[in-house]
């Protein structure tokens, strides 16, 4: 049962380890990655700061590393933030720091795994995300998992002087159940 939650065909969800900071440090230097992953200004966090975040576990947050099944390589991270237990709604965020794993289904599968975790283990009714208008590859990936576009904050993002929309997407439990049945 545990395997079903954490493991797919390409990747598994793994516990965060302190020595991951070396990889995080490398990913932070990849400015395109940083600008796809976060709307905050890109920044070079110290190893100590990053190690503190890894150690800190909070009840409202479930974070995993994404590791390949083929060679156990750390390629990214994914997490759920539960904004409100009564509403059974959580936000999901994902990043694939290793570029050679972009566009090959690794991120999509990791997203399927965390979504399954959210609905089966956290009993969520809904999972929410936002994605930058210039990240079309991510939008397509989320649509494959079942997320639907629910609207756009027009011109919310300004990156290098170019404005883009912030796209909001959502996946309801009943929609996921219909997709999940087809997969199994």
């Amino acid at each position: 049962m545990e395997d079903k939650i954490y493991k797919g065909k390409l990747v598994r969800l793994a516990i965060q380890q302190k020595d991951n900071v070396k990889a995080y440090e490398r990913w932070n230097l990849d400015s395109e990655y940083a600008r796809l992953a976060d709307s905050d200004p890109s920044y070079l966090w110290s190893r100590q700061q990053m190690a503190e975040w890894i150690d800190k576990e909070e009840d409202c947050q479930v974070s995993f590393n994404i590791r390949t099944l083929a060679d156990d390589k750390l390629i990214g991270g994914v997490g759920l933030w539960i904004s409100d237990w009564a509403s059974r709604n959580a936000w999901v965020g994902i990043g694939i720091g290793e570029r050679e794993y972009w566009g090959k289904g690794y991120g999509t599968e990791a997203m399927r795994l965390i979504v399954r975790f959210g609905f089966r283990e956290l009993n969520l009714n809904r999972i929410s995300l936002d994605v930058f208008g210039y990240n079309e590859r991510a939008v397509r990936s989320y649509e494959k998992v079942g997320f639907k576009v629910e609207g756009r904050m027009r011109e919310w993002i300004n990156r290098a002087g170019v404005r883009s929309d912030l796209i909001y997407m959502g996946l309801l439990r009943r929609e996921w159940e219909a997709v999940e049945e087809n997969l199994e």
């Binding site: 709307s39 509403s87 809904r126 929410s128 609207g151 904050m153 011109e155 919310w156 300004n158 309801l172």
Partner: protein
Amino acid sequence: MISTPLFTGQNLILTPFNIEKDAQAVSNWSYDLTVARQFGRNPARPMNEASAKKVLEDHTRKPENTAFFAFGIRIKDKKKLVGILRLRYIAWNHGAGEIDVIFGNPEHRQQCGSEALAMGLVYAFEELNLHRLNTRAIGENEQDAISLFETAGFTLEIRQREALFNSGRFWDGLIFGLFRSEWLERQEAH
């Protein structure tokens, strides 16, 4: 114009908080869960005076927090706090932020809502120089939100299906947006 008063309206004034006295008002408001929900305590519940005091302390701007501004809303010549205007989650690198107006009772919202919002828009666009603003509403208040925000020029941009649960059911989360350029056009037209 730099001579435009930011904190004095036709019938309303924006003021700092008087934490000791205003806490009593906020505590009274919070018996209405639709008001309590807007203070972000999860789950929403009525607040005693000590909790209300904590909320007002949190709403008092710390100079190092540049992403948050809140003001007490009062009717001119009256001391009692009737509402709170907030500009939050300001992402300076994107020129984007969020505005909301909280009122302790529906009568004040009806009477003062559009004037308080208009004052907030002047502050957001002329003092903070934001490119865009958004505001959030819960499905249960959809008609009220539409009449307040669409009248002020906002467009409904997002409907997060079943994002919130209260009063025994799920409600959609609504997000409205307004550009500085849209606001300016309306200012000129009036």
